[in-house]
């Protein structure tokens, strides 16, 4: 099959771009440890209220400017509804669902993950600026989905 010289050149450009994309992601993953939230702890969705630490959702201080926040997502709210942390805190969010699929997102930040019944998902984020951040469910969960939100206060 004849492939035109220009087409070979054009496809080579495509392959170089492809290699560039893959290299960028590999470097981010390997040298900066950037991987998407992929926690693999499982939990019985019908027994979340009896399973520590989700039996007492909320914020725990684990070190200097280091916190763990345990959230239970359920229709149509997050528990806790508000947490307050100092500026510069690194917060690791752990979240699970007692009912349907939810989302866990602080808009316009890299805090974004799916909350699947049966699993705990987690990610860490450093809050460098003060403010009141909106935390929303960004996966459709039912009639009150548009009201499912919480607050993260950074001061």
């Amino acid at each position: 099959m004849h492939i035109h010289r220009y087409e070979k050149l054009w496809l080579s450009i495509g392959l170089v771009i492809l290699a560039f994309f893959i290299a960028t992601l590999s470097i981010a993953a390997l040298s900066e440890g950037f991987v998407p939230p992929s926690d693999d702890q499982s939990i019985d969705p019908t027994k979340v209220a009896q399973t520590p630490p989700f039996d007492h959702p909320g914020l725990r201080k684990v070190g200097d400017h280091a916190y763990e926040a345990y959230y239970v997502a359920h229709i149509f709210a997050f528990d806790p509804a508000t947490i307050t942390v100092p500026v510069g805190s690194r917060v690791t969010f752990y979240v699970t669902s007692t009912d349907v699929e939810h989302g866990f997102s602080i808009p316009a930040t890299a805090v974004n993950m799916m909350v699947t019944p049966g699993w705990v998902n987690s990610l860490s984020h450093t809050f460098k600026e003060a403010g009141t951040f909106l935390l929303v469910c960004n996966e459709y969960c039912g009639a009150g989905h548009q009201t499912m939100a919480a607050k993260v206060v950074v001061q």
Binding site: M1, H2, H4, W10, L11, I13, G14, L15, I17, L18, F21, I22, T24, L25, A28, A29, F34, V35, P36, P37, S38, D39, D40, Q41, S42, I43, D44, P45, I75, V100, E101, G103, S105, I106, P107, A108, A110, N112, M113, M114, T116, P117, G118, W119, V120, N121, T132, L134, V136, N138, E139, Y140, C141, G142, A143, G144, H145, Q146, T147, A149
Partner: protein, 562 residues
């Protein structure tokens, strides 16, 4: 040089003055017309619900409880993503096969498929509109819809298998009689697309086998992650099903509107084969932010997803080469001269041509979505809604509309009603889509979530920037809705207003520029390519599925949260 005597005896030419062939061809045309008009009707209804959504999000209207936002969101998604596209593509692929394989044939199997699809669509749509299936078009468990919804969706898919079987049997019939000939290019594209579709729909079929007994109350729970994974095993190839439908038109139909040809027979086949191979083993890029799937598997799917660069670049090259070769033959040279020379006033060109422009934007957005470092910023935001509207709602839908302006007159043997109106419908759609998808992308960068009826969040400060984008999106959406309305009017009036013409304005496929050049016979070995596609899908999913099945045994009970 082919003489007319040769043409009459060629297995690729319809014999003239042969009544049984002519009768069979007419039956086939009517069948394809039935598919296309079904798609047209569905597009009209779907667009109406789309407009209501836009108005609702812009806070122009509040949907009443008895006809709430999530119900219309579900029906819009199902009708546009699953029904409109599918009916158009089954019609188009049937036409590509029937037209390029001259044969006295039965159309019964294809009509059975169409009927099963219609019954499934009605079942699902009525269930959604009655409020018993507000589960959106992704129907993520444990949201539990009425069993009629799952039955309806299953029938819609099952119906397409009859049509796939019809297309495959026609190609097999041709190949048995003409072992020394290549499969005609349009039939090749059709059968390649259908093989991809069959492999893809196996995933959603297994999902339905889990969901249906559960929705009937026979089982008490489902593995939520597993059903999500099965959905996306199907969900991404669904996207390539649309693209392959659009590519059939870009490669084989569009060149006829400017006297052009297909750039290369072999490379066209290779592009379709690449899409067949790369369609299924990529679905986990929709689940980057899911728990329970290891980052390694997510990365594997990322790499294969980027593989689509190859057929996309090949297609871009083929399209521009086809433009340039035809233009040069008429003495037109230079980039802008060729752009101006293209028939932008011909509705059969303008739709696909404008769609190609939108596809460039769609491609850029797709690169962001697939890079999981950036995806975390846009996942489940309005960005994603902007992306799929500028892909399926842009290149795909505009291409189908443009093709319908050619197909409907050819099949119904009538003149196109009000060609100027047809042209207006396409430019309105294009302008509306630019405004709407731009606003949606922007809203997504600002963090606005998708799939919510209202983005005000009780006046929360973080949500304050989103409203303006939603208003702009609703304005763009209104233009699109008017465009759809004009399309439905033109398509319908073509049949009702104009008289039947006996000299059939037929839709022939473009001739191939390098028809005489040898093509590696391996490109026609579709069985081998299908087997390879299945192996790739297996490799991509055996790990993640095993991870789901062995991780835990918690099954979620179904819930109706709407």
């Amino acid at each position: 040089m082919t003489t007319s005597a040769d043409a009459a005896s060629s297995p690729l030419q319809w014999p003239k003055n042969n009544d049984s062939y002519a009768f069979s061809r007419e039956k086939g045309d009517l069948l394809v017309l039935t598919h296309i008009y079904t798609a047209t009707l569905v597009l009209g209804v779907g667009a109406l619900f789309g407009a209501l959504q836009g108005f609702s999000r812009a806070n122009w209207i509040v949907m009443p409880d008895w006809f709430d936002y999530y119900r219309i969101l579900t029906v819009h998604g199902v009708l546009m993503a699953l029904v409109f596209t599918t009916f158009f593509i089954t019609g188009l692929l049937t036409y590509a096969t029937y037209r390029s394989i001259p044969r006295v044939r039965s159309v019964r199997l294809n009509y059975i498929g169409w009927s099963v699809m219609v019954i499934g669509t009605l079942m699902a749509a009525i269930t959604i509109l009655s409020g018993n299936a507000s589960v959106l078009y992704t129907f993520y468990a444990p949201l539990k819809a009425s069993p009629f919804f799952y039955f309806g969706a299953t029938l819609l898919v099952a119906g397409t298998w009859f049509i796939a079987a019809d297309i495959i049997m026609n190609v097999v019939w041709f190949k048995r009689r003409n072992p020394e000939l290549r499969i005609p290019l349009p039939a090749f594209a059709a059968v390649c697309t259908m093989i991809m579709w069959i492999i893809a729909t196996l995933g959603v079929t297994v999902e339905m086998l889990i969901l249906i007994p559960w929705s009937l109350g026979w089982t008490s729970g489902v593995d939520v992650s597993l059903t999500r994974m099965l959905f996306w095993y199907f969900g991404h190839p669904l996207v390539y099903f649309w693209i392959m439908g659009a590519y059939v038109i870009w490669y084989l139909v569009v060149p006829t509107s400017y006297g052009g040809s297909v750039f290369s027979d072999g490379l066209t086949r290779l592009a379709f084969i690449s899409l067949l191979l790369l369609s299924t083993p990529v679905g986990i890029h929709h689940e980057y932010l899911d728990p329970g799937i290891s980052p390694g598997w997510k990365f594997f799917h990322t790499i294969l997803t980027y593989g689509v660069v190859v057929p996309s670049f090949m297609t871009a090259f083929a399209i521009f080469a086809s433009f340039e070769i035809a233009a040069r033959k008429q003495g037109v040279t230079g980039f802008w001269n060729i752009v101006r020379w293209l028939p932008w006033r011909d509705p059969a060109f303008a739709g696909p041509g404008l769609g190609m422009l939108l596809f460039i934007l769609g491609g850029f957005g797709g690169v962001v979505n697939n890079s999981y470092a950036m995806d975390v910023l846009v996942h489940n935001t309005m960005w994603v809604v902007g992306h799929f509207h500028v892909t399926v709602g842009g290149p795909v839908a505009l291409t189908f509309i443009g093709a319908a302006y050619r197909l409907v007159p050819a099949l119904a043997r009538r003149k196109l009603f009000a060609p100027q109106l047809a042209l207006v419908s396409e430019y309105l759609w294009f302008a509306g889509m630019l405004v709407m998808s731009f606003s949606m992308h922007w809203a997504g960068i600002l963090g606005a979530p998708r799939r919510t009826s209202d983005v005000s969040y009780f006046g929360a400060a973080g949500a304050a920037t989103w409203h303006g984008q939603m208003v702009a999106a609703a304005l763009g959406g209104s233009l699109i809705a008017i465009g759809v309305l004009l399309f439905v009017v033109v398509a319908t009036a073509t049949f009702l207003q104009n008289k039947r013409e006996e000299d059939n304005p037929e839709l022939a496929f473009a001739r191939v520029e390098d028809a005489a050049a040898p093509v590696p016979p391996v490109l026609d070995k579709l069985g081998t390519w299908a087997a390879l596609a299945i192996v790739l899908a297996f490799i991509a999913y055996v790990g993640p599925v095993t991870q789901q099945l062995t991780a835990h045994s918690y099954l979620a009970p179904g819930m109706r949260t709407w």
